[in-house]
């Protein structure tokens, strides 16, 4: 297994982060009558790395899917302020009003075109990596193809992205036959090649060997140093401790702790959070 050979910051240039990357206000999502997520308020400043932790079924993945605009919340608002030039206006993203204020992509006047614009400023990597048929390079290039990037630039950026994740030698390999770790690194390259302002990681290193976890954490660290906002769901508390500025601890869909990572891991959080960190929480 090869280590990543370049600093991600060398090649995957992110936009300068705004003061507030996103805010979730009263966000609620139910499945079959059960509240999977019921969040009062979550503000994520630009450049922050936020670790979302909690037991299975706490609503972590639901939160990420809502932020990624893959699902619509039953109630509440998502407000984005992703752009380097300031908050994206509804007009720029395809909506009917140009307020200049942070936007709610499910609000009035917003169509799918606006949500597509927002999605293109985010990168989402999940635990279960889905590789398309075709080569590794074709997989990584997919997002750029959607954006109509010229072929020459696509080739250059694919090469850079693969070099970033240490897989430049695998460009021509069939993507569906990669190992779990390789596939996850390709998925990361595929998500990062669009130069997202926000990266969403849903247990992106679960089930990987320590070497691949290390490679991916180095890539995340590189993105973090460049000022990309990162929201990562993880069961790996050591990883959260290593990477996160703040921790959101969810319990049955609600915020149990939201604050500095140092405080969460030093035991100054609420009792349930302390028990979770100590591995004593029964659920």
């Amino acid at each position: 297994m090869r280590a990543a050979t370049r600093n991600p910051g060398d090649v995957l240039e992110a936009a300068a982060a705004p003061a507030m990357a996103l805010a979730c206000v009263g966000l609620r999502k139910e499945y079959a009558g059960r509240a999977a997520l019921d969040l009062d308020r979550l503000d994520v400043p630009g450049r922050e790395t936020l670790a979302v932790v909690g037991p299975s079924g706490a609503g972590k993945s639901t939160l990420l899917r809502l932020i990624a605009l893959l699902e619509r919340p039953d109630s509440g608002e998502l407000r984005f302020g992703l752009s380097a030039a300031g908050p994206i206006s509804a007009e720029a993203a395809g909506g009917s009003t140009a307020t200049g204020a942070p936007v709610d992509p499910w609000g009035n006047g917003w169509g799918e075109a606006g949500r597509v614009t927002l999605r293109r400023q985010m990168g989402f990597v999940t635990q279960k990596t889905v590789m398309f048929t075709g080569t590794v390079a074709e997989n990584v290039a997919y997002g750029l193809g959607l954006r109509g990037v010229p072929a020459d630039e696509v080739r250059r950026r694919v090469g850079e992205a693969l070099e970033t994740v240490g897989l430049e030698h695998a460009a021509g390999w069939p993507a569906r036959f990669l190992s779990g770790g390789e596939a996850q690194r390709v998925a990361l390259a595929r998500a990062l090649i669009g130069r997202p302002s926000i990266i969403l990681l849903d247990e992106a290193t679960a089930n990987l060997d320590p070497a691949n976890v290390g490679i991916i954490e180095r890539i995340i660290t590189g993105q973090r140093q460049r000022g990309t906002t990162i929201i990562m769901v993880t069961h790996n508390l050591g990883q959260a401790r290593r990477l996160a500025d703040r921790v959101l601890f969810l319990w049955e869909g609600r915020t149990e702790y939201l604050g500095p990572a140092v405080g969460f891991f030093s035991g100054s959080g609420v009792p349930r959070a302390r028990a979770f960190v100590a591995g004593e929480l029964v659920y």
């Binding site: 990624a68 605009l69 893959l70 799918e112 075109a113 597509v116 999605r119 293109r120 985010m122 990168g123 989402f124 279960k128 889905v130 398309f132 048929t133 075709g134 080569t135 997919y142 997002g143 959607l146 954006r147 069939p174 569906r176 595929r190 998500a191 669009g194």
Partner: protein, 217 residues
């Protein structure tokens, strides 16, 4: 029955009728199956159940329906299509369409969530994501077409009713087997059956080759 030119003619007509029916059913069934799989509309469940039910449509029933429609007193009688290869194509298209539609919807639905969401998360529009789902489901769709062709080339009830088994005009392999068996020439019937299986095997080999080419990518 001369075992050379007439049999070749029968084989070619069988391939033409069943192949055309499969192409027509594919042109309509693949989009229809995709719509059933990806669409969110009222009555979708009923449409799915109806499609699955029609996958088991008895060939004879399809033949009777087409016969009545194309007969002189039927709504399309003035087209004079009854007892022509065109009528056989219509009947087989009716049989194959639900199979291609149903199997396409199953294979697309199986790919839908993970492929569609991955594509959306990478910046695809809903239309681009649906196209990606279809591209990723192409092996299953090829299988659906192969199953449809198998259904068409092996059925006898519908083509017998609407084609009439006219020598040199509407006689295909299955109707020829029935005829020879009724005449007591079981040997020729069995030989024709063997030829039918070999032809079906060759056609399916082509489909398998297409699937294999996609699989290794």
């Amino acid at each position: 029955m001369p075992l050379t030119s007439e049999i070749i003619e029968i084989v070619l007509l069988s391939l033409f009728v069943s192949g055309t029916a499969t192409v027509l059913a594919g042109l309509a069934g693949v989009p229809l199956g995709t719509f059933l799989a990806l669409g969110r509309f009222r009555g979708r469940g009923l449409a799915m159940r109806l499609t699955y039910t029609l996958m088991g449509l008895p060939p004879v029933l399809a033949g009777v329906v087409v016969f009545l429609i194309l007969s002189a007193s039927g709504p399309l009688g003035r087209l004079h299509l009854l007892f022509t290869p065109a009528a056989m194509v219509i009947a087989q298209t009716l049989l194959v369409l639900p199979i291609v539609t149903g199997l396409t919807s199953v294979t697309v639905a199986g790919k839908d969530r993970e492929i569609r969401e991955t594509a959306l998360a990478l910046g695809a529009t809903p239309r681009q994501a649906a196209t990606k789902v279809l591209v990723e489901a192409r092996l299953g769709i090829t299988g659906a077409l192969a199953a449809g062709l198998g259904r068409a080339i092996g059925e006898v009830g519908a083509v017998m009713l609407v084609g009439g088994n006219i020598a040199g005009f509407t006689r295909v392999m299955t109707t020829a087997i029935v005829l020879e068996t009724r005449k007591g020439d079981y040997t020729l019937g069995l030989w024709l059956g063997l030829i039918l299986l070999v032809v079906a095997f060759l056609v399916n080999s082509v489909f398998a080759g297409l699937q294999g080419a996609g699989e290794t990518r």
